[in-house]
Symmetry: D4
């Protein structure tokens, strides 16, 4: 009655040219079959692509000839397909971006950001478990963090790290509220509202658990100010 | 058809004996007429009482012979009636309780707590405007704060002060989330959830803007451990 | 592409000295691997540590040489690792802290509090299933409860126990709203708001299901008033 | 362009016959002009009607010949128009319905319920300010309350009164959550969820501040079981 | 470290005498072990008890000698233990209570109410699937429904049944919002707010999915008006 | 420092051609000055325009030469400017659109819809106060309503009208939830969720109080099917 | 004790005649047993019916003689039973309805709409993956979309597609917010509020994930304006 | 009893050095008296300061010698005090920052951002009223917008502008959700969630109505990448 004659996806070929960032495959609500269709397209195009929110269970359901070309970070639920065809130039600086996490439970998001940056040619340092319950842990590392032009902060629960960190550095801070918590902080709402309502001006925020988005924003910021051919 | 033959209030005479704290008059949803009835009762009983959430507008509507006996703190919207009859003993220690505020906008709550404590015989020091956006302001005062056995913290917006402060002191911290904020922090929900979800264990919380409740809890804590005749 | 060269955790060695309470391992959002890394660190340090929100499933995934050193309370989802190295002194008093629960369903939180207190050297009595639907159950035990300097109350559903209990005792009451309920009380929001909005002044609250936090707050209160060397 | 040729109201003449209760005029969102139109209709019909949520400001805007026929309770914001034409029989029993309030601030709702009942021929006793913060106030009156076949309970803030009261009486309890409160209980949500989530089975609830609805439900309950000609 | 020396439950023996309804066992948040302890107590007491929110999975985990004495309705997730010892008198009337459901998906709640009523000696008729999308289904049955003194209405989704039904009958209507729905009505909030906000006065409500509570309220209403020895 | 050199508005000249509906002036968040600037533009263009959410207070603040050209419906808070230049053809049919309201309080939205339709050349009949609490009022008018090709339903509180009405007619129903209500229905959320969650399939909804949007949608529906030159 | 003597469903035979759309079977909250009972009824009646929200797991639990007559679309979780008895006439036009999706993840809802339309005799074209992140994808197809009299738009996450699309076409747009998203857009609330709050007037909305409802509304719109015998 | 011996504010002198941005005075919850105290301090220090959320009413309450030194933008509710002492260097580039608004109602936030930038030495262009309901308005200006290194987007209601704009430019986009809207978009929640949940990666967000914060973040971004002496 309803034949599947419709192509279910419609790859945004010009996104790289238009926005500086190529389309990634957001896997959370896609079936393994839909993901496979998209990877087959990239196989054919001999292009590399990034896959986010990819569960190990779905990786196992992919055909072998596709999963073999995946470089999969299971903690970060992120993968690079056809890395060999990746055409982004490797950036030389290793002092552009620093990723700071409040707790061990935030590491999966740190990896999501780090892999996203790596795919686009950027190195990033992770400084982990410096939540403000033990303030000295952050203060011990603050001079390191100050070396970087841009900081991605990741915190769940009450998200107090964002305000303290932003008050101590000149660099812009991109907050990634994480869904780590329970009770009133279940799902990440407390951390998100802390990032938005911070008494430290100049924090910008992305959606809960959206480390990918924070990495993309970081790349757009760096590109905007360091490349001459802006938006043209 | 419905004659006002009902006495509208029913004073809890034994509350002091039962809980260590006598009943106070919460004025927010009471009419000036209802407040006047209660004050007249205390006038007749020659007893002193505390009034919270009392607006200047309602004070003006009270009969002169009642308002004359009011010691009113307009910023804290709190008053003491018949102070001369107050029978609480003055505590000697001035290192029991410290009130710490994140910003200038939280001062009205600091006064509400301070007057409540004073009514019950306790002195309290206010250390104000030490929010974490400028962390050194807090660090500069932390040794002072550490002198106190108990800390009442007041903060609105994202409430990051609670976590940082609790991580730096041994004393218990009673958090008072304030309704200072806008957007996602309007009404105080962000500060409340930060207090509840804090990564620093050992914070306890009261309702948004309930500085009176924090002061009462502080008194109950001090009494529990310093008086011999506990609960009897 | 992203080698796991980052140490994922950063133990807060000075927390005991700074706040009187050593860091505990919150397991809810940590993988079994991350937990094992932390336990191995304590194995090597010959130190004892407390683990909260630890599921039986994760215990089973731990290496045998680590799980063998765990004293696990499955109902309370809480464990003590390397109890033999625990250096907290045993407190003598058994009338400091009482844990009161509204219903049988709240027992797991009662155990979480009790084990946390035991780890820090405090005995605590549990008085269970005295919810206000059958008020005499509470009234029958109220004289017992009044013997204690501090009360931890645990209740889900509508949390009416908090107000009634606080109105009957001089001791401070730390409320632990539990996530027991369904419909409007699913997740514990009703019990939490009852604790916060109580008509009985002097209740302080922790996050939903945070019995660990209530126990830590109780310890900080007792320490503040019974040890001479406060905060120094 | 749009002539006001539409009659804006459409009186439900048969509601009394169909449901046992005649239509009342809910004034909160009606303009004084719309209210006047409805009263003029009743003036012409020589019928009596009940008006709820009627502000003093709107009463003043009504034409004199209409407001003269109003019996207005300003605290309860409720009025009876054309009382002389009221045809409900006066019930003899004065032990049918008791109205119990937690605090003085709930009296306006108590009057709303009492006037509604009076309009329909029922007497009701108000027992006020027996909130559970001072439990003895309730226990002192509980034998009185037990004399009534049906109880309407009114409470704001955390609404703990509902659970305690329902656990002490055999009569059905209709809970009226009031919008008395601030912070998390602002607007009455805490009291409403306490009524719904109560651990005492058998409580039924109406909307926040809907004392009128509680009174109507009480009348339907009494009628259902005491009149022979049920629903026919 | 923490021996299980605490009796975890505390049966409310006098609830029947005090409120007219004996305590039931709410199983949702209890473990099979806790339920078994309670049933063993009733086994020993030779008393009958009602169990609500009991899953088939937990029934299977009970010891055989206990489960053998269970009369389990799996759709309604409700059971009667030791029915032979039930001492409630069988009521003669079969026109007291009618249970009306909006859709087939609401039948499990209808059974929960029906079994609860049966345990207490009341027969109840179920009239099912008369939601207002096909209004004639309700109108066809309305004369039947009008025969009953009290109606329990069960509806999910938008809960429009409550308003329509209450506008057509003289009997009181107890609304049970069900958690049937998705999107904005997931969890039952839409149906609950429809019951509370109804334009038809006189509806009373219980918590989402609380058919047990509706049945208990119904019994209390009938008892209040039909038994002479009220509350004594 | 910041001269007001920026033109603050940017009239969408092609909206009529592109969507069939010309831009209207939404006044709720605009200052009287901003509205005056826009009207001056239309004065100059000799074009007619519709203004929605326009308060009487702002009308009074407009310059006389502009307010003189306003045809203002104060109940509906809607106005037509320069009606003489209106170029929409008058539709002949008076059986296209019917506006049905649940209560008198919904009339202001009915006028907002009716004036919007009139501005675009459509007549609409208002059938008011037929809420389902008195079902016969709706059933008495249902044959009239069935004469219309499209129905706009307006209801606040619990919004049960939408489901009942949609179940009785073949025409599409556009629901306008109104913000009439209090407690859980304050602001219109209950009515909105009833429209969305209805058990009667085929209802479509607009935002709370958006009678203008409902009217525009109605016009687009009629145009789509009755004009030959669709979208071209 | 409670024999299952109640017929659990009550088929709305006249719904087709009354509303133009026959009743469908909403399976989400029905057990496989309840679904089988309904299909057996249609088997006996030799009638065709539509089943929505039908999981593959429930299909497998149906008796073979019933499942054999199901035409099941697993992606759309929708099925047609007894297609051979379907009596809806096939509509000739293939330019009536277009279904537009923002992303690949929205395809299951597109199939739900398409099958619903097919059951009622309408063909619909799906134009997929034209979300506004790559605006040219939508602009490339906009002339195609403009050929259709009515557009069903499906989008999750922030739902920006609805506003952009409505601003570019004359046809009415029925928005179906999908539950595709995470963090603040988990469950579809963001997309729903975007549809409701759109700055493009004339969008109408259905519940989150209610593609069935959108299809039914579309059919009612087409029928209203293209059939002569409206509502009679 | 409580003398006002406490200095209520505690100016963060080192914030400029530490974060690159000096402290501003957030006036929303401060009294005119508190603001005057702070201005007097700056008067004395001969320093310039920025004041946000400053109402005209409070300006009028300030002493003349202070208000005379205010440069007040009433639409943006923002002021510069002692502009003559401002020591920020004027930036030469006028292609750094572009402010884009969806509607006329968003202009007050545009001014708040523009004045904040001006205070810090940055020029910014406002491109207003280019909301996506009339997409061509945005497309007509997109080449202009592409000239800027960084874009601040301001939109209320459903906030669709953010996604469309981010998909068309390489520059980073800072979203400012505005509280323009009603019904589900009242208060700005819809626009905020659209910014957070956008399908266009790389958008970063600030709190509702926080144009000041967006401007500060923009300055930190530009500074991070264009000044050599980063964070030192």
């Amino acid at each position: 009655m309803t034949s599947k004659n419709t192509a279910e996806f419609n790859w945004d070929e010009q996104r790289l040219e238009r926005t500086g960032i190529q389309e990634a495959v957001y896997c959370l609500h896609k079936s393994a079959g839909q993901i496979a269709d998209i990877l087959a397209y990239h196989q054919q195009q001999q292009s590399s692509t990034l896959l986010t929110r990819l569960s190990a269970a779905k990786v196992e359901q992919l055909p072998n000839h596709l999963s073999a070309a995946l470089d999969f970070n299971s903690s970060g639920q992120i993968a690079i397909f056809n890395a060999e065809f990746n055409q982004y130039p490797q950036q030389q600086s290793d002092k552009d971006i620093c990723i700071v996490t409040a707790g061990t439970s935030d590491m999966s998001l740190a990896y999501e950001a780090q892999v996203t940056l790596a795919f686009h040619g950027y190195k990033a340092q992770i400084i982990s478990d410096v939540g403000v319950a033990g303030l000295h842990r952050l203060l011990n590392r603050i001079d390191d963090i100050r070396q970087y032009k841009l900081v991605i902060g990741i915190a769940g629960m009450e998200g107090a790290l964002f305000s303290v960190l932003a008050g101590l550095i000149k660099s812009p801070l991109i907050a990634v509220p994480s869904s780590v918590g329970y009770g009133v902080s279940a799902g990440g709402d407390s951390a998100l509202s802390s990032a938005l309502a911070s008494c430290s001006p100049g924090i910008v925020t992305v959606n809960i658990d959206n480390a990918f988005g924070a990495a993309v924003a970081a790349i757009k910021m760096i590109s905007a100010f360091t490349h001459s051919a802006q938006n043209s």
